[in-house]
Amino acid sequence: MTANALTEFPVPAPETPDSPSDQQLIAALNAGDADAFEPLYLRYRDWVVALAHRFTGDESLALDVMQETFLYLLKKFPGFRLTAQMKTFLYPAVKNLSIAARRKTSRVQSTEAEQQHLAQLPAAEIAFTNSAELSAALTNLSEDHREVLLLRFVDDLSLAEIAEAISVPLGTVKSRLHHALETLRSDERAKEFFAA
């Protein structure tokens, strides 16, 4: 039995070979074991909030989206079947919730100053990487190309998993990734990362 949530703040446990897999945790949740949710949540919490921040550029919105994502996941139980990587399943949920959150925020902003502030928010404010030049080069990519690039090389999804996550054919994923890499390769700001 876990202690009262008000005094115990969970931290992600370091993953070990003995850590239950996502499938095992999901099976336990489908069987009604509520304790299996916490490790699953902690395993993906930081990734989801970072992804939401990537989409929204706003930390408060990212937290809101993160909460909504996991509440959305909760509603899948019992009876949830994970047929791909957890990130593949969560990615479209985070993306769609982020878009909805940003739209909602822009609707409730009433003053002109606030709307101007919102209009000036990301992508200019999103630092994709620690290198300002690389971040600028990434910002220059189209959203579709950047999305595939980051999913592949930051989130470690396979091409097939990316195709499933963003609901496009595999060929389209390959094409976008190819164009993203070519664009970066020819961008002066990213040249050092392609130097031999």
Partner: protein, 167 residues
């Protein structure tokens, strides 16, 4: 328009990124989004509520299948419900008391002084510890060093407003 020839061509080398680029993309950013413990608590509470068995979960067909024992369970259950809840609350309160005194209690990384809150006092304590001989394990900005910048990160989180600055 993608045809099979271009897809084949795009497999392999053309879709690989240089190691330096991948390393730069994967490098953790100094400022990560701080998830307040209250948010964790709210989500986990929602999870417990979602998976909690309801009082009507024992359907008439289940009771019949369980026989007499099931029938009594069905009849007695409402009578036991409130005393059970009261006993659980007392047990929970006791656990809370002992948990707060437990040395194995888990706290948020930013809760340096383990008072259950993340505020300026945590930043202050970390700043003092970095100046002393203590070796705190609180590399919050993942730069490999625990220094005043980690303390300042805690401070910036402590002053965050939840929903803009509207009162």
């Amino acid at each position: 328009m993608n045809n099979s020839d271009s897809n084949t061509r795009r497999d392999g080398e053309e879709l690989k990124a240089p190691a330096k680029l991948v390393a730069a993309l994967k490098e953790p950013l100094p400022r990560r989004v701080f998830v307040p413990p209250s948010v964790d608590a709210a989500i986990l509470k929602a999870a417990r509520q979602h998976f909690a068995p309801t009082t009507s979960s024992l359907s008439p067909s289940d009771g019949e299948r369980a026989g007499v024992r099931g029938m009594f369970a069905r009849i007695l259950r409402p009578w036991l419900l409130w005393p059970t809840v009261a006993a659980a609350c007392i047990a929970l309160a006791g656990l809370t008391y002992f948990a707060s005194r437990s040395s194995h209690q888990q706290f948020a990384r930013e809760d340096i002084n383990h008072d259950g809150r993340v505020d300026i006092l945590d930043a202050f304590q970390l700043a003092r510890e970095t100046q002393s001989s203590a070796k705190p394990e609180a590399d919050l900005n993942s730069d490999g060093i625990v220094d005043r910048r980690d303390a300042e990160l805690i401070a910036s989180h402590a002053v965050k407003l939840e929903k803009g600055g509207k009162s």
